[in-house]
Amino acid sequence: MSTRTQAAWSGALAQRAKSLEFQEYALAIVVVLLFIAGAILKPDTFPTWDNIRNMLTQSSVVGVLAIGMTFVIATAGIDLSVGSIVAAAGVFGGILLGDSGTSSLVFIVGAILFATFLGTANATAVAYGRVVPFIATLAMFSIARGLALLLNDKLPVSLLDLNGGSFGDPRPFSLLWFGVGRIFGIPVSVFVFLAIAILGWIALNRTRYGRYVIAVGGNREAARIAGVPVRRIIFSVYVLSGFLAGISTVLLCARLGSASPVSGNLYELDAIGAVVIGGTSLAGGRATIVGTFLGVLTFALIFSLMTQLNLSTEIQQVTKGLIVLGAVLLQRPEARY
């Protein structure tokens, strides 16, 4: 009896290992190499707990977007609007507060609802208006950025009144708490990111919903014939992407202490980049949350390392491009299967 359970366990374990694709291993190697490079080049300031915490915190904003983007890309879609939605949702939450408002809750709920609303507009255009995702979300990219500027007459909204306590010890669930608060020494925003990544992993790999998402991206016609509610699934991923953009807004504005109409610039490209170097196929039907997570970390490591080395912009851009290319080339053996 016990040998049988043991066998079952090792079988399940082997399966787990198999499901961790080569691609994810390859990117994990890149992450480790970058960290080692940082530790060698900046031994005093790079491999410190403080800096790791800093990199994870920075990852969280684009990371949350990238989790949503993974679902969108898994259906063979794309969402170019998330960066603009971050800006629009922040400003919307800010003006919702009014002149003397101090309720973090109003801001947080307002921003998330507004981002979800914009995501729903994307979803409607793509799923029911049959607009190509690239075009529908490109339009939203422009609309949301315009709204961000329009809503408060091009001005940033200061959120510093929402501190909910002193800087050192923010009140739990206040906006600032999401920005600089810590639980057991780990920043709250990192907890939020990890929680969303884990929920995303479970949803994608262990629920009917996730299975449907991949089916739609893998073979839309076959999915329809097998009874997958294709349109509803497509609709849902854009709503999800908008909702997560709202969470991302909260994490960003909390740290920034203001909601700026020009924030979130090109975040969509960072998110898409992280998803794709993570191994999710732009053609749909293949998605990995672990890969996305590592992709986000890769970008954060590159950014942190290059800023610490004080490289000039042009060198930074070339280096970043080369590292991304290298990371993708490392994964090439996978492409054959």
Partner: protein, 347 residues
């Protein structure tokens, strides 16, 4: 331009009748003569001719405080003149701005006023306008060819760097670690603000007591400023001053410093003169100074355009003409004089 007297520098090469190319050189700072133009400037030129002047102004989208003020001031200036028909167009990027200017040319206005997204990229279309007989007044960001504009009015970004270096080196007594958070890489504004800063630091502190420990672009964007500063704070255990290229972007930098709890360790300066920045300067603390040239240079540009359109000149110049290049000098705003400047603040 009533209380603060505008110092307008007129390119010496123009007065000497030399080719305009020399004006574009880096050494134009030394080759300019300062001429004081009085109140008559805005009133200058008679509207007796009864002719209407059609002016089209093309500017980047006003998502940035300083640019917002530019648009507002240009409109306000145009409204003061009953003989001006004024149209303002905005373009999101250099390509669409070029298209807009093409369209504007086809409308045959008397004068074009252009604040280019990217001076180099828009030079050809400006040259085209000039060739078509439409004079171009260039604001702030320079075209790269001398025949692209009839007149140029620009803020002295190099001088902003100079003033910042003066201020920071005085405060630090030529000793300390300085971080520079630049604007958008690859445009002349950023380059000038950096060059003025580094050149002057070398002059003022020849012993090299001030070290620029990090110099990174923040893209004039608060969230980029935030993340870049977060990383720099990780790398640098001791920072005495931060020179940022823009007040809005500086808000992100301020926040990074506060989040790290290091606001007592250093001070910070901005550029532009936003209300937020002035408020913080007044309150004292981290934000010590900002450097600005007044966005109402756009009003001057519209006035210049009108004079060009009417075929007249500044009456105080001999002979009265519109100068080829007007450089608006920069000023320092600190806690001591912030009350004087608050009226120029924009948001």
């Amino acid at each position: 331009m009533s209380r603060m007297r505008l110092f307008v520098t007129v390119a010496a090469c123009l007065a000497l009748g030399l080719g305009a190319a020399a004006c574009m050189g880096d050494d134009n700072k030394t080759a300019t003569t300062t001429v004081t133009v009085g109140e008559t400037t805005s009133a200058g030129g008679g509207s007796a001719s009864g002719k209407k002047v059609n002016i089209i102004a093309s500017v980047p989208p006003t998502d940035h405080g300083w640019l917002g003020a530019i648009s507002k001031d240009a409109k306000a200036a145009a409204e003061k003149h009953p003989d001006v028909n004024f149209e303002l167009v905005q373009a999101a990027d250099a390509d669409s701005q070029a298209q807009q200017i093409e369209q504007a040319i086809s409308k045959k206005p008397d004068v074009l006023v252009v604040l280019p997204q990217d001076g180099a990229a828009l030079t050809p279309v400006a040259q085209k306008a000039e060739k078509a007989g439409i004079p171009v007044v260039n604001i702030d960001r320079l075209f790269t060819a001398p025949d692209a504009a009839t007149a140029t009015i620009l803020g002295d970004n190099y001088q902003i760097g100079v003033l910042a270096a003066d201020y920071i080196s005085d405060q630090l007594k030529c000793k300390g670690n300085v971080v520079e958070i630049q604007g958008l890489a690859g445009i002349s504004v950023t380059q000038d603000r950096t060059k003025g800063f580094t050149d002057t630091l070398k002059q003022k502190c020849p012993a090299g007591g001030i070290k620029i420990v990090a110099s990174q672009p923040g893209d004039f964007n608060p969230d980029k400023g935030l993340t870049v500063m977060e990383n720099i704070l990780q790398a640098q255990s001791k920072i005495d001053a931060v020179y940022t290229h823009d007040d809005d972007m500086a808000q992100g930098v301020v926040q990074a410093i506060r989040n790290a709890g290091r606001e007592d360790e250093m001070f910070l300066t901005g550029v532009g003169g936003s209300q937020d920045a002035m408020k913080q300067i007044e309150e004292g603390g981290l934000y010590r100074a900002t450097f600005l040239y007044n966005p109402n240079m756009a009003a001057s540009a519209v006035n210049m355009a009108r004079l060009i359109g009417l075929g007249e000149g500044f009456s105080d110049l001999v002979p009265p003409e519109v100068p080829r290049q007007v450089v608006v000098p920069a000023a320092v705003v600190t806690k001591d004089n912030v009350s004087e400047y608050e009226q120029y603040a924009f948001n």
